[in-house]
């Protein structure tokens, strides 16, 4: 295994940096139910890290631990070389971690542009008073952040719908707008909770291309949960496999595919 601080080159020539986030012996309980049992893994800078597993394996709970929704009973989260104290989700967002949701969580009453602009909120610091006057500081900040938001809108090819209320959009586009909102924050780590759930093959191909492009162009570290094995094997650099809250595999897609325990979890075991 490579050392935590080292960088290395992948087969396709991308550079994977040192460890940026590390989960150490995380255990999460809801009453008597152990959703996550003593799991450790790390995420390296610039990589695409997949978390897979059957339904109820604890993948989403893991993502919720990273984004601050749940505070684990045991274990530590290390981020950028320091232990992260328990914090609220909005503080986690301030640190540069953005995410999307399994069931789309957009602001339905706002336009696409406003939704993407909410992703910039962590970068907008003008006070209430200058905002109420608008001219000057508030307007400059708004325009500067609008430029960033427009770059993301261009990148994800949703220019044509920027003034459309989100509630009117079809499912596939909503997923893309949600990705745009998360990207607008210019996050260090981007968490994607089933970005391709409920999509047809064509939409999945589009989304896969966007994920690869994001990683390539912005160098964003991505951690994603996905059920489509083909997609996971093609996209990700390393894969964590979970089952019943335990980690049963960790490594490159090739390693994981040949792991007997993983095969058993997915295909079932003959009980004789």
């Amino acid at each position: 295994m490579k050392d935590q601080a080292d960088s290395y080159q992948t087969a396709d020539g991308r550079t994977i940096g040192p460890v940026v986030m590390e989960m150490r012996n995380i255990t999460l309980r809801f009453g008597g139910v152990e959703a996550i049992k003593d799991i450790s893994f790390d995420i390296r800078e610039g990589e695409i890290r997949a978390i897979i597993g059957p339904n109820g394996a604890g993948k989403s709970s893991m993502l919720n631990v990273i984004s601050g929704f749940y505070v684990p009973q045991e274990g530590e989260v290390w981020y950028k070389g320091a232990r992260r104290p328990p914090m609220k989700p909005f503080e986690v967002a301030e640190q540069g971690i953005a995410r999307t949701f399994q069931n789309i969580a957009l602001f339905e009453g706002m336009s696409v542009l406003d939704n993407v602009m909410t992703g910039r909120l962590t970068h907008m610091k003008t006070g209430l008073f200058s905002q109420s006057l608008w001219k000057g500081k508030a307007e400059r900040e708004e325009v500067a952040n609008r430029e960033v938001a427009e770059k993301i809108i261009d990148f994800l090819e949703i220019q044509a719908i920027r003034k459309t209320p989100v509630a009117r959009l079809p499912y596939g586009l909503k997923k893309r707008v949600e990705l745009a909102r998360a990207l607008a924050a210019e996050p260090t780590i981007l968490l994607l909770d089933e970005p391709m759930a409920g999509m047809n093959v064509e939409e999945k191909e589009d989304m896969s291309r966007f994920i690869l492009d994001v990683n390539d162009e912005f160098g964003t570290t991505i951690a994603l949960i996905e059920h489509d094995m083909g997609v996971v094997m093609d996209l990700s650099d390393r894969v964590v496999v979970m089952d019943y809250g335990r980690k049963i595999g960790d490594g490159t897609p090739q390693d994981v595919r040949n792991n007997q325990e993983v095969i058993d979890a997915y295909l079932g075991v003959a009980h004789d």
């Binding site: 909005f90 957009l106 602001f107 339905e108 907008m124």
Partner: protein, 358 residues
């Protein structure tokens, strides 16, 4: 046809984010403002000022304030009457304690005091939502009215328990008291109304407004993208109460002149302003104006039609008004929850294509 945006292109983001991005709208707005400032003051008389324009301007401020809280931030409040009372009584205390203070300052300070009180009563919103929050603000309504009734310090130990506005001026022009000119009170209210609308618009188009709307639409997602729910909700309560406090101060000092708190700022007032924003349009500044205009005009129009023209008894007309408002609330909630503002938007879309919709 009537409504044109063709050939009107924004070339900068600042142009695209301005209040009226379409030239047609912008000029119409300037024309309305011009008439309001330079024409109406010269033709206004006491009847028009006291029965229509001044109450409309004051209710518009209150409606904008409540709309920020309910329409933009999604926190239901039934405490508007109580917060208006805070504005009225603090304005009264400033007017009597500092007789030389300009009315402008008194009214603004009354807004600041109300904002502080609003934040205090907004604290439960961090724990409770929806109907339960509405009930909590209802407690604010009754507590505040009770407080101003029971503590003589608030009404300067007057025998009647009422507060009445002494004569105060601003820049040498008499604003309050019985000897005011119609144009002076009208212009004074107009300044506050236009100022409130501008500030409300600036806040709601910027990052503060997006935080409020994010909390309204989905509070969990809002928190995950970095909105501190505590601060967002409390700023909404503060800004909303600031406007409502100004409205209360103007309502007492300029419109009525003398106030008995239970009668003027009771629960009916809370509902009246809430109805204004439901009929006018939740989450719309224009809707606040439309709703205020509608509910101020309706009784006057009914009186003119029913009593003066048709010769009906006054009490029947008064009851008819309740029936009509109640019916309208139900119709709007079922058929058009976004109120007159949405009807206006739809009308504009239709007019744009008229007379060839295909």
């Amino acid at each position: 046809m009537f409504y044109r945006e063709a050939g009107d292109f924004s070339t900068t983001y600042a142009e695209d984010q301005q209040t009226f991005p379409i030239k047609f709208d912008r000029y119409r707005y300037y024309v309305v403002l011009f008439i309001a400032i330079f024409v109406i003051p010269f033709i206004i008389n006491d009847y028009w000022a006291n029965s229509l324009l001044v109450p409309f301007l004051i209710y518009a401020i209150a409606a904008i304030g409540l709309n920020i809280l309910v329409g933009y931030c999604g926190q239901v409040s039934l405490g508007t009457g109580g917060f208006m009372a805070v504005g009225a009584y603090s304005c009264y205390k400033f007017m009597t304690a500092f007789p030389d203070l300009s009315m402008f300052v008194s009214v603004l300070l009354a807004g600041v005091v109300t904002a502080a009180v609003g934040v205090l009563f907004g604290l439960p919103s961090l724990r409770i939502k929806g109907f339960y929050l509405a009930v909590a603000t209802l407690a604010a309504q009754f507590f505040l009215v009770w407080l101003f009734n029971r503590v003589p310090w608030f009404y300067n130990y007057s025998a009647s328990g009422q507060i009445s506005a002494p004569e105060r001026d601003t820049f040498g022009i008499l604003i309050t008291g019985p000897n005011t000119e119609a144009w002076a009170t009208y212009l004074f209210c107009l300044i506050f109304t236009v100022g409130s609308a501008l500030v409300a618009r600036n806040l709601t188009r910027g990052s503060v407004g997006r935080k409020w709307m994010a909390i309204r639409d989905m509070d969990i997602a809002a928190e995950i993208i970095g909105v501190n729910p505590l601060r967002a909700k409390l700023t909404a309560f503060a800004v909303s109460s600031f406007f409502i406090g100004i409205a209360g101060a103007l309502f007492f000092s300029i419109y009525l002149g003398a106030v008995e708190v239970g009668e003027v700022f009771g629960i009916q007032k809370s509902f009246l302003v809430l109805f204004m924003i439901i009929i006018g349009g939740l989450g719309s500044i224009f809707g606040s104006f439309a709703g205020a205009a509608f509910l101020v005009l309706l009784p006057v129009a009914l009186k003119v039609v029913g009593v003066d023209w048709l010769g009906w008894p006054t009490d029947i007309v008064a009851h008819l008004q309740l029936v009509i408002v109640g019916g309208l609330i139900i119709i709007f909630l079922i058929a058009e929850p976004h109120g007159i503002a949405q009807l206006w938007r739809v009308a504009k879309e239709k007019l744009r294509l008229w007379p060839f919709p295909h």
